[in-house]
């Protein structure tokens, strides 16, 4: 019934849109460079493909310009969608785009058999999960509690927890509590007694989950916690951290470094972390980073990967 209705709706509206001609393509952001699709045998694989990602990926140093600079890869066009969210993933799945900027822990990658292209030249910096906190709130007790969480968190675990939240639609708070219990971090203590902390999260589910993990761990240690989840993107919540609307938010080392220092070149986990500690402006600071990483990756469907024999980003620059 629902399906039939939907199909009817699609059919009816498609007719209308067909009548409206070219408007269908007006939203796409056009070719991103002049080197694509040169005549003859010179066309690269990338020039035949559409890349999709967040608005900022189009201009970010390690985004479209980075692909060109490091790998000589220029896609046929760039479609502005979202930061590894439902728009990008659905677009990749349904063929609106051929490649997407998606985060490595995303459960939809294994679920759809997407292929993550290798990044041999380390275009993408390390993205270790870590707490970004207002220095004044980072008491020894709070820091030790959060550092304990980071010590237990690894990439595999994070990916698994994402599956519970995103695929199984479990409540992030429940998933957080469950995991803390499974690693013994739910034991009540007094380390953060007296601390009053407002925890925020970005508007994607992994960030919400991480915020809940921090929140529950701190609650167990006696802190008074309030949460402000789903606060848009970095451009909104970093000012929020600075003006005291929130005190703590889960972050990713590489992208945070880029945010504070757009010219940063550090790539390895340790280098990024070291640079980040210097780059974070007052009154903020970062605590210990976890080994859990969730980094940008250029992801294609299995069909595309097979068709063009793609395993690495570099393969996109080949003629195909």
């Amino acid at each position: 019934m629902k399906k039939a209705l939907t199909s009817a709706l699609v059919a009816a509206c498609a007719t209308v849109l067909a009548a409206c001609g070219s408007s269908g393509s007006s939203g796409s952001n056009g070719l991103s460079g002049g080197s694509s699709a040169s005549a003859g045998g010179g066309a690269t694989v990338a020039s035949k493909l559409v890349l999709g990602g967040s608005p900022e990926f189009k201009t970010r140093t390690d985004g479209v310009p980075g692909l060109q600079r490091v790998y000589g890869v220029t896609f046929g066009s760039y479609k502005t969608l979202d930061a590894g969210g439902p728009l990008t993933i659905n677009a990749l799945k349904n063929g609106q785009i051929d490649a997407g900027d998606i985060f490595t822990t995303d459960p939809s990658i294994p679920a759809n058999g997407f292929v993550v292209l290798q990044d041999p030249k380390n275009l993408y910096a390390a993205q270790n999960v870590l707490p970004l906190i207002n220095k004044a709130k980072a008491t020894p007790g709070v820091s030790s509690t959060l550092n304990a969480v980071s010590a237990k968190l690894d990439t595999n675990t994070l990916a698994q927890l994402d599956v519970h939240v995103i695929t199984d639609k479990q409540d992030p708070d429940a998933v957080a509590k469950g995991w803390l219990a499974s690693v013994g971090l739910n034991k009540t203590g007094t380390a953060a007694q007296g601390a009053s902390i407002k925890i925020g999260s970005a508007n994607f589910q992994e960030s919400v989950l991480l915020a809940e993990i921090y929140a529950e761990a701190l609650r167990a240690q006696g802190a008074n916690i309030t949460t402000r989840l789903n606060i848009g993107s970095r451009e909104t919540y970093i000012p929020g951290l600075k003006d005291g609307s929130i005190d703590l938010i889960p972050e990713y080392s590489g992208v945070l470094l880029q945010f504070f220092d757009p010219k940063a070149t550090a790539v390895s986990s340790a280098d990024v972390y070291a640079a980040l500690q210097k780059a974070v402006p007052a009154p903020l600071t970062v605590l210990d980073q976890s080994s859990a990483e969730d980094k940008d990756a250029i992801v294609v469907t299995k069909t595309t990967a097979d068709k063009y024999h793609l395993t690495s980003i570099a393969d996109l620059a080949k003629n195909g």
């Binding site: 849109l17 007006s26 796409s28 900022e56």
Partner: protein
Amino acid sequence: MIQWLNDPGNWTAQGGIFDQLWAHLQYALIALVVAIVLALPLGLLIGHTGRGRWLVTVANAVRSLPVLGLLILLYVMLAPHIHGRGDTVYLLPTEIVLILLAVPPLLASTVAGVENVDPAVRDAAAGMGMRGGQVVRKVELPNALPLVFSGLRSATLQVIATATVAAYLGLGGLGRFVYDGQASQNFAERNAGALLVALLAVVADLLLAVAQRYTVSRGVSGRFSSRPDASTSAEGGPPELPAPPATHTA
């Protein structure tokens, strides 16, 4: 912001102001044309027959649907069903939302416009042997035009302001500058985008005001070139009706 607007590159670039202005206009025009095609005949029919007024109530109830929720719901519903290149999967939800926004003011004002036609005028039209269609075309529509225009103008305002959300779903339009500017911390770009939307809406409203001036009979609008024996002017010109207020939804 002025600086950003003064940079010619921001206007002519691929995906620049000209492109996005055109895209924005297209989204708005598609929605308005579809809404007019739906609402105008329906409104004339309801006003003419006096039947089906509940449809106006339903249309007004549609106004209480949250635009963002509806947009997301429609996208999520449609996404698994639309495959392949192209923007249909983003355009459909956007246009449906915009059409749903435009129909209620158009429908309500058209019905009100027809209902406001002096019953004596309608009676005279029928009494002179006009058929139903002729009464609608030759009498009711011309006299309802001022209110139809007021509905169209408020619909246009809303649609242009709301077409900004197209960018939320990855489409173009002036909303692109608002979202991209926000995402890349380019506040000049963001504010310029917002200003451009407002400007576009104002210009569109002006154009409609001009169109209204040339399509509405002076006998209805009351703009007479020479003020005749005002003392004897019987009913003192057509009644002035407050325009139905617009709704802002995005």
